[in-house]
Amino acid sequence: MRKKPVLHAIPVASLLDRARSRVLPWAIMKTHPEFSKWVLELIRRTSVDLSADIEGALQHAKTNENPGSPAASAFESVLENVALARKQSTPICQDTGTNIFFVYHPAGLSQRKMEHDIEAAVVEATSKSYLRPNSVDSLTGANSGNNLGRGLPSIHFHEWDKEEILVRLMLKGGGSENVGAQYSLPNTALGAGRDLKGVEIVVLDAINKAQGKGCAPGIAGVCIGGDRGSSYLESKVQLFRKLDDRNQLPELRELEERLYRKSNLLEIGPMGFGGRTTTLGVKIGVLHRLPASYFVSISYMCWACRRREMRIKNGGMTID
């Protein structure tokens, strides 16, 4: 994992300038010469071209609503918008969210070089309007204008055994992020104990509290366990799974199916207009926890579920 130093009192601009102007001693280290260009293309595809599994689920959801109903008209607009964005190569939604990268790479590659290349690609993507300037200084309120800032983009590195690089990207919108929730079990108000029944209860509660505000229908990424930080992170990692991906753990597989079925009985519907589809999926991960803690974290992803991955292998790349 990349460790970011705590940066007190150093203006971001000068910090980034310094990073840019520095002669990179690691530039000679092994990475792919096209890396930055390819990351730019990954950003473009993620922002303008919704994944087939999500679009398919939205199409299916439309057929479940009565023609002429608010829910049906919402799905029609959503699908028209998805097609238009792809055709015009413009962002599906104007909120292009937090840019979250996960990079899995073989031994010997420079993480600093890759970080540098990713940041360059983010700046370029912003100037090409694939990304909206979305990085605001929390103290001054100033927008950096290029999507860089303290902790942005969010990049997580992992070294692995394979001879290929995998770069995953998620654009996590603000409206949906605002309705995420973390519960510490037991939760007596809801009657949720420290077991899978308790998990089931709080996930449904979070989906109900979100109503349409996170641009429903959403996908709930869930993590059971971990600490407050690792738990939220894992709940986002779950959102990379394809909708038809089945959990390897039988008890979680069943829980995912149950939660998907039950959440759609709530009749919240697209945009909270009422309707038969409230969620497109529920994906659950699990981490070890301390004996004293039992966290359940829910990251809500809006219908504009923009996440893709790029594989770099044998000198070429593919985006899924």
Binding site: P70, S73, V78, E80, Q88, T90, N208, Q211, G272
Partner: protein, 208 residues
């Protein structure tokens, strides 16, 4: 599906009910946080100053019978004229402290946004015959394509997202979620879903 032509009459607005699917055509004006604050502080809490009289006159004529759209657009300028590139709705509840005053003072007939608004706005909709129209969150490219013309912009010094953009729209899709009879679809949906949730939780606890 119902068509709304702007400016709208009180009668045509009173005929709308929550859950109605509508297409809006005509001239509307965007406003976000800075715009709402400005209208209230400069034109409602005090009378317009001489150097703002012209702006007051222009805005008043647009707002009377008109629609305010909660939107911070992405715009482009080609050959000297503005164009909307991306124009989805933004969360409306932030304007709750201002909106009821604006509806009353300017005779606004419709508010377009997302997520719904609170009791004060609902009450103003009832008293002064206005509606809240919910656009589709995230449908930014599609909505931009229903903006056929950018007619004017005021207070560009607030920044592009916060300025008052005067736009002509055609077949702008929305759903009435708060009507002029005191009904709110948001409240109704939340009551229903919470009832379902309570029943489901009970079953889970009882081990069914």
């Amino acid at each position: 599906m119902t068509r709304i032509e702007l400016p709208a009459s009180a009668e045509s607005i009173a005929a709308l009910k929550t859950g109605d699917v509508v297409k809006i055509s005509g001239v509307m004006i965007t406003a976000r946080d800075a715009g709402h604050k400005f209208l209230v502080e400069h034109f409602i809490e005090r009378s317009p100053q001489p150097d703002e009289a012209e702006l007051f006159r222009k805005l008043s004529s647009l707002l009377r019978g008109g629609v305010i759209y909660h939107c911070g657009p992405v715009v482009a300028k080609d050959n000297g004229s503005w164009r909307f590139v991306s124009a989805g709705p933004t969360t409306s509840i932030r304007e709750e402290p201002y909106e009821h005053k604006i509806i009353e003072a300017f005779g606004v007939r419709g508010i377009v946004g997302k997520g719904g608004m609170g009791e004060k706005t609902l009450e103003a909709c009832k008293r002064f015959k206005a509606v809240y129209l919910h656009a589709v969150g995230g449908a930014a490219s599609l909505i931009a394509s229903s903006v056929v013309e950018v007619l004017d912009v005021h207070k560009l010094e607030f920044g592009v997202p916060e300025a008052f953009w005067v736009i002509r729209v055609k077949d702008f899709d929305a759903v009435v979620t708060m009507d002029s009879h005191g009904e709110s679809l948001h409240k109704k949906v939340e009551e229903t879903s919470t009832r379902h949730l309570d029943a489901i939780i009970k079953e889970i606890i009882q081990g069914k």
